[in-house]
Symmetry: C2
Subunit: 453 residues, 2 copies
């Protein structure tokens, strides 16, 4: 069979990895795919650098639209990133009848509906294994490996930068700011690390996961996003003493329950935030810049997928796996393809329909609270009384010696409380009251806790 | 589209799980597969029990050949197990033009070549996700998720019974025999546990993995198989002190090296044996009856897949995933299918060809040695001298106090040695010499060690 001709838009880190792996493993790939896969055209603004990577056998152009316009190109690989020009080019490639492979999570999380709709109408594939958790084949696992299951929840360490920072904070007992600088120096964090440390990148990926796990539209605007910038070394230490690790998790969960007042809550949770996880769980032991995704299905139970979530060749591994999937089915009737969002497109739930993304107030989870209080009698009783009044029950309390926390002669101490599961709306109300107590001396730290079992 | 009609051969634990999950999640499965999947016929010797599981809507027969002969049946699911009648039925189903899904690792590891050849000639699929690591989609990961990679090695905890026993031995400091009885009482080990504890089940699975990882034939007869029956509580304890855990691993690895004498060794290692693994590796922390498979690819690096390796619904999850894959492509040209052994059949290596399975003497690994010696001067020097003479270098030595090992007044002690990597043939020769020393008082314990990095 004739080789598949691929055009790359953008040849930076992932693009050059894709070119190199395709070249190095071309024989192995041909034996698997049943046909060759060749990058025959590359568009990059820096044509000289692009030329230095791909050599003379590949056509290099400065204008991505030349790739899209080339009738010989079967698949366009978009590696530009961002929502701007990348969006226009992906839509133009689809309109031109090209299959598209992309690693662009931001684009899919925000504009996915429009893109998938256009692809469906044109009868082309938009594949995106590389957009979530780099080289780990988690999209394939969710979309094909676990198809027998009702997915109940997915919880993942899906941002390597923040996991590296949290690992370092725990290992070395350092605060966030110090470790961030170190991570930037080592290349684990970008010069502008906002998307990573504020949880936005993880939320893009969690949004894509929620869509394929539950057959709902990508709805990034409904995701709850909280980063790691306010985490203190003290919280990591206290969590450790209680048998937990703190990880930045992307969580999406199907929820259905009847509330005390008789109203039903039914929908999908979609949230990214720091989270206490029992130290004995495998996912709590994922260190450094590694990623891991834990999936709970009703038949299979928990399965976990672990590996490198970023980097040139790990991400290229996912891009090429998508190219091979496309190569196998490029001449087949579209009915034979795996639907890009896991469910057949006419069966996808509507946004806000039967499975709406729930507001955070309706999320039920347990909590870690760190409350800086005056070290005097009756403080604990008043706080636990307010929690009890809000129907929140307590799992464990850790009260430190004032000296240990504030130094010798200190009149302040930290009160650490782990709660049982409660509605976030109820917790918000209780914390607002507790914050008003005169013996509470600083803003309360509240970190959610998941048992993941 | 018309639903796919499935016939089950055998409705025990996995069969009833498959029936129940298909019924419970039928709506979700239809939304994913684009068509229904229905079990319309079941064959089991115990027709009364079969009837009690499937109710009145399904035809129950005592003779599996009635299922195969039924022209309405699209897919036959073989859940009988073993090499006997299961082999005949699978070949007959293929001859009748049925697609086959099987969880039968023993059958595929031993007779896979014959079965895959027959299926290829008939243009039908033989799918076997459930045969390796239960509900973990590891076959799909290797065959489709990691297709861009040259797989370098795979190491897996792929037998839950032995992992449960090893976890209990470590947790409770008990010897193998005691824990085996406990495991049998709890249902984690069968009344005749031979296949599990002698490593045969793990070797069946490792054999299948080796075929799809490297594009070689299934060659169970070439696998090296060593179980856990000779492991002592003392070895687990010493390993722990040195920073290792002992796991029963199925390992398959592509090897190519030039030896000192100028000859080349090129082939695939295929071995199951107890193995020291650094305690900090994620796979070393897989406890109880859980499975995990670690895959090293040249582009993606290490990825790990974790979950339940057995049980009714976890295994059913894998069976149904295969059924959905088949449902999607049942009307398509066979050229569009993923090849069952990952590589297009005409590109599979021949047995004993370019990538032969290597004899254990040619395997290079490092070792843990426990040598019971007389507690007298010069013993360590003689032993290390013999190792050095064989070109084996030492990584660490742990010498226990005689009293601690043999009780007060003991004149015997344990010498624990970790070696660097060496050829197994050279280690065998050195150990034969050491075993002859008059100061070596018992058979030497030798456990292989893998860093898995």
């Amino acid at each position: 069979m004739k080789p598949i001709q691929v055009g790359l838009l953008g040849i930076g880190t992932v693009g050059s990895g894709t070119f190199q792996v395709l070249a190095r493993n071309q024989e192995e790939i041909r034996r698997r795919a049943g046909r060759g896969i060749e990058i025959t055209m590359v568009a990059d603004l820096d044509t000289a650098r692009a030329r230095s990577i791909v050599g003379d056998g590949v056509r290099v152009v400065g204008d991505a639209r030349e790739v899209i316009a080339n009738p010989d190109i079967d698949v366009v690989v978009e590696l530009i990133g961002g929502y701007g020009i990348a969006k226009a080019l992906v839509l133009e490639a689809i309109a031109a009848g090209k299959h598209v492979v992309t690693a662009n999570k931001a684009l899919l999380a925000v504009h996915g509906q429009e893109i998938f709709k256009a692809a469906h109408e044109q009868g082309v594939v938009v594949a995106f294994e590389a957009a979530v958790a780099g080289g780990i084949p988690i999209i394939k696992a969710l979309r094909e490996g676990l198809t027998a299951n009702q997915i109940q929840w997915v919880a993942g360490i899906i941002n390597g930068t923040t996991n590296f920072i949290l690992s370092e904070m725990r290992d070395k007992g350092l605060d966030f700011d110090v470790v961030l600088k170190e991570a930037q120096r080592l290349g684990y964090a970008e010069a502008d690390p906002t998307f990573d440390i504020e949880g936005v990148d993880a939320a893009h990926k969690a949004t894509i996961i929620s869509a394929i796990a539950f057959g709902i539209p990508v709805q990034f605007d409904k995701a709850y996003v909280e980063g790691i910038t306010k985490l203190a070394a003290a919280d990591i230490k206290y969590a450790e003493q209680l048998g937990y690790r703190i990880k930045l998790l992307g969580i999406t969960k199907r929820t259905e329950r009847l509330q005390a007042d008789g109203t039903a809550v039914r929908g999908v949770e979609l949230r990214v935030h720091p989270c206490l996880v029992p130290a004995k769980r495998l996912i709590a032991n994922v260190e450094g810049a590694m990623n891991a995704v834990l999936v709970q299905g009703d038949a299979v139970g928990a399965t976990l997928y672990y590996g490198k979530g970023a980097g040139s060749e790990p991400t290229a591994s996912a891009v090429i796996a998508d190219l091979i999937d496309i190569a196998r089915l490029i001449d087949a009737d579209p009915a034979h393809r795996v639907p890009p969002l896991a469910f057949q497109s006419h069966t996808l739930a509507a946004a806000g329909g039967e499975l709406p993304v729930l507001p955070m107030a309706d999320v039920v989870t347990s909590y870690y609270l760190r409350i800086r209080v005056a070290d005097e009698a009756g403080v604990l009783a008043r706080i636990t009384g307010l929690l009890a009044g809000a129907g929140i029950s307590i799992d464990a309390v850790l009260q430190r010696e004032a000296d240990e926390v504030g130094g010798e002669g200190s009149t302040q101490t930290d009160l650490i409380i782990l709660t049982h599961e409660t509605r976030e709306g109820d917790m918000d109300a209780a914390l607002a009251q507790i914050q008003q107590l005169p013996t509470v001396l600083a803003p309360i730290t509240r970190i959610r806790k998941e048992e993941l079992n």
